[in-house]
């Protein structure tokens, strides 16, 4: 098993990459909404993504984050 520092150092870059992809996805949506002047008819999937970010930013549950997200993402 890796030690705590190894976990951070080993997986930092790939998580940086995934965060940037997520940020780009949210920006992409905003740009298209601004360009077309209207939101998507159904924003449920986007709302779940935003809820997922709240789960990730919190640290209050005993349930692992992945399990919480899988439950949440299964709702759409």
């Amino acid at each position: 098993m890796l030690d705590p520092q190894q976990v951070i150092d080993t997986y930092f870059l790939e998580n940086r990459h995934m965060l940037l992809e997520l940020a780009a996805f949210l920006d992409r949506y905003d740009v298209v909404v601004a360009r077309q002047g209207e939101h998507a008819a159904n924003e449920e999937k986007l709302a779940v993504i935003r809820q997922s970010l709240q789960v990730l930013s919190g640290n209050t549950s005993d349930t692992p984050r992945v399990e919480q997200l899988l439950e949440l993402l299964a709702t759409v």
């Binding site: 940086r16 990459h17 992809e21 780009a24 996805f25 920006d27 740009v31």
Partner: protein
């Protein structure tokens, strides 16, 4: 579709990559001088490397019908050795006269030290004296924004023609000042550490296609030449035509690299043929 890969470190890749690139429509690659993964000690090591990319590598690419061009430079990571840089620069003219050498690159910055800035200025000045194109590397990750500003500062102090300079590895936080200053910019696609194909298309949608190059670099590290094709797929998936894609992924490299007459591949346009009557 015909594709030009404007930044590709072929000597770090296999013949199978050439074969697969040829099968996917790549007609030409341009190979900037690169870091070897360790700091070279001797000018002669660079000279043999320049011979490899200007004489040997074109023969390897030709086996797959791909044109191979190159650039020469002391990589920014090795610019901390000013004496070595000066010695290597003395040999540039003999390589700049080679039939497939397009200019000076990739010079640029890595940690943006004083020695790196001096080496960048020396490379650019030499290129301008010899009427050459310039390809400039900008730093990665945490050093990106500051390093790109330093590159622009160095260039602002020199007598350069921005249209003949390509600032590479731009990302969302650095693309605008480079375009606003009149330079060409390159978006380099890597699986993890640089720009992604989707983000590149986002930037293309925001800034347009003028003075923009897309490449996948591809070296001996975690990289993939086919991130370029992935980007083309993403671009097409968003509804842009094949001609639009050709403009960006074939014709734009022709427009920039073609400023050097040695790069003789011309922009192309798809033409419809009237339905033939049997």
């Amino acid at each position: 579709m015909q594709i030009i890969q404007p930044h590709y470190h072929a000597i770090a890749r296999t013949a199978q990559d050439y074969e697969r690139m040829a099968m996917s429509g790549v007609v030409a690659v341009a190979e900037p001088a690169f870091w070897a993964g360790f700091d070279r000690r001797y000018p002669e090591t660079f000279i043999d490397y320049f011979r490899q990319i200007s004489e040997f590598e074109p023969t390897r690419a030709a086996q797959y019908g791909i044109r191979h061009f190159c650039w020469v430079a002391v990589n920014p990571k090795e610019a901390e050795n000013p004496g070595l840089t000066r010695e290597v620069l003395k040999h540039f003219p003999e390589f700049l006269s080679q039939p497939t050498c397009l200019g000076v690159g990739e010079t640029g910055l890595h940690k943006s030290t004083a020695n790196e800035c001096d080496a960048l200025a020396a490379h650019v000045e030499l290129a301008m004296q010899h009427d050459q194109l310039v390809l400039i590397h900008t730093p990665h990750l945490a050093d990106k924004a500051d390093g790109t500003r330093r590159v622009l500062d160095v260039l602002a102090g020199l007598n350069v023609n921005p249209e003949r300079i390509w600032i590479d590895h731009v990302e969302e936080q650095t693309i605008r000042p480079c375009l606003d200053a009149g330079y060409w910019v390159g978006m380099t696609l890597y699986p993890v550490t640089k720009c992604s194909p989707k983000r590149a298309v986002d930037m293309i949608e925001k800034y347009g296609t003028e003075r923009i190059l897309v490449n996948s670099s591809a070296d001996w590290g975690p990289s993939d030449p086919f991130t370029l094709q992935e980007c083309i797929l993403e671009y097409r998936r968003r509804g842009y035509s094949v001609q639009n894609a050709i403009e960006l992924f074939h014709n734009n490299p022709c427009r920039f690299l073609g400023q050097n007459p040695k790069f003789d591949i011309c922009p192309i346009r798809i033409e419809s043929i009237e339905k033939e009557l049997v």
